[in-house]
Amino acid sequence: MKRSVGRRLIGAAAVGLLLAAVVAWAATDTIVLGSAISQTGKYAREGKFYVDAYTMTVDAVNKQGGVKVGGKTYKLELKLYDDQSDPNLSVRLFTQLVTSDKVNFLLGPYTSGITIPASSVAEKYQIPMVQGGGASEKIFDRGYKYIFGTLPRAEFYFLSATQAAVNLKPPIKTAALLYSNEAFDRSVAEGSRQLLKEYRIEKVYDEQYQPATQDFTSILAVIKSKNPDLILVAGHAENSLNFIRQSQAADVNPKMWVFTVGPPTADFRQALGKAAEHAYGVTPWLPDMDIGGEVFASAREFSKQFKARFGYEADYHVASGAADVLVYKFAIEKANSLEPTKVRDAIASLDVETLYGRVKFEPNGQIALGQVLIQIQQGKLVPVYVAGKFAAKPIYPMPKWSQRK
């Protein structure tokens, strides 16, 4: 008897094991996301942000039940190569991912310079590529159908600022627009002109300057004579710094001023000291925002997990990369198919809330996302206008220089 019980147990165990194996086999259905990203070379620093972001998001999706397609559950899997920061190698590796590794979908590399050629591979083989590392319009103005990007475009840099400006009390009526004559800042200015028109803010000054400009006194003399409520400045951190300091010396007092670059960086605020106070800046994402969705309930939660696992603070590159993986989860479930063309259409019509903000793409494939408007208040960055509403009370109008302590 004893022996037969033993045998039965063994038999049951065997059946159990077999069942488990069958289940496991079923569960090993995977969706492979492939990418070549810089892990060595000059973009290694930012490349690591994306590798870590992809890894963490894939693990989180799998932990929370994977991706469901047609009643079946799939796990996500990553297939990553190192492009050594070389655009030519990147193209070769992406071709290899598509033709011989036969990955299901593509995630992007880092920087526009590499994304531009790499995205041509995706387009050629009609495999979607969702990327979070390239914002240049050159990626999106070629009429490609399979390339999607989650970094906001230059034209929208001042979207949140303009929206906030007209909703302040008293609302902003006039604006000055000053931008460096580099391609990116010219795009920012082009978009800003449209925005000012759309939100009926009168533009009283519109000039470009050379990025190497140190002395803004003459520019400031003219701006001062126009007395605008709002000043928008697109340029380098050094330009923003000079502009603010010389405004103080020239006693230029707008109600609000916003800079594309500078306010979010620590050395900028340190160099300016108290003069930086009340300046507005923009950033696509901040780690302590209360936005979130499925998989990651909030940006704050995401940042905490990220820091615990990788030992450094997540920035907007990381959040953008995480959003790319989530796009696939949501789009595949929406399409209920692994067919590249169907998933592509699902991505194009996607509209979801994530830790990174609302993910919804423009017809050209770039995300329709504004920047978060931040203000320096007592030396700290305070997100004041996030996703179409005020998140904190802005200090407005800015106190005049003569009234500041």
């Binding site: 006194t217 004579s225 010389q246």
Partner: protein, 288 residues
């Protein structure tokens, strides 16, 4: 009103350009070295001021003599032990070695101070006064006054002292100077020291108005070069006049032509001067 404001802005900026170029013009005129490390010397002066301000809490105007003295010693040693090796070499070699010095200095600055933007911000940095609708920043005014004082001191040194006469003699006729017993090697070192000291002073003043970075020097070398040529080599007042011309040209072109034009106008001016008055605004005629 705007035109007066622009005029004031141009003059105040021009003074700073003048003192920037004074040292370069001196070294160029006396030793026939176009010192490509001039901007790096200005950068060094700015960082010394930055350190004095942040670590010791010294006001930049107080630390100015210290910066000048340190840069003099640095310049003296640099000439004595490095540049002296090539003092008779062709122009190309001197360009190469001063360029090399610049590269070394920039990278040392990166290690010492990192590439972060730095700024010297005394409490009065942003203060100003208004006269009849015109705004004059105090710091720029004091920077201008300091420039004038330093230039006058420098002029007195060159015109009224034995040392100044020796420097001018060396510059004008090397062989005769040597025959009269002027220690030419030491005069060269002192000259380079003086040039570096003036660059250091310019650095202190620059750092009160603009951000300090390890790479700030390149553009300043170029600007000093333009100013030195505009004003005329071999004249003591030349760089000051050249600085004012450049400051006003930039200020007016930025206001009335557009903020992207100052460089085009400045270099256009340089070309015109080289065509019509090759020796500069105040320069002597060749062989005069």
């Amino acid at each position: 009103m705007l035109i007066l404001q622009v005029l004031i802005n141009g003059i105040l900026l021009g003074g700073l350009y003048g003192i920037m170029a004074l040292g370069m013009s001196l070294i160029w005129g006396v030793m026939n070295i176009v010192n490509l490390a001039h901007g790096a010397l200005i950068m060094l002066g700015a960082y010394i001021t930055f350190w004095a301000f942040t670590l010791l809490g010294w006001d930049p105007f107080l630390s100015l003599p210290v910066t000048v003295a340190l840069l003099f010693v640095y310049g003296y040693l640099l000439q004595r032990f490095v540049l002296n090796l090539i003092v008779r070499a062709q122009l190309f070699i001197t360009l190469l070695i001063t360029f090399g010095i610049e590269v070394v200095m920039i990278n040392l600055a990166r290690i010492l101070w990192s590439s972060d933007l730095r700024q010297v911000t005394p409490a009065y940095a942003g203060s100003n006064f208004s006269v009849g609708g015109l705004t004059v920043p105090y710091v720029r005014l004091w920077v201008f006054v300091t420039t004038i004082v330093l230039s006058v001191l420098f002029l007195l040194l060159m015109e009224r002292t034995r040392l100044g006469r020796a420097i001018r003699a060396t510059s004008q006729e090397l062989r005769a100077a040597r025959l009269t017993g002027i220690p030419v090697a030491r005069i060269y070192a002192v000259t380079f020291g003086l040039g570096a000291a003036l660059a250091g002073a310019a650095g202190t003043l620059w750092g009160m108005l603009f951000p300090i970075t390890p790479t700030m020097g390149g553009a300043l070398t170029l600007k000093s070069f333009v100013v030195a040529v505009l004003g005329g080599l071999g004249t003591m007042m030349g760089p000051i006049v050249g600085g004012l011309v450049l400051g006003l040209a930039e200020s007016f072109s930025s206001t009335y032509v557009g903020p992207t034009y100052p460089n085009a106008i400045s270099f256009g001016l340089l070309v015109l001067i080289l065509i019509f008055r090759p020796t500069g605004v105040l320069g002597r005629r060749e062989g005069g």
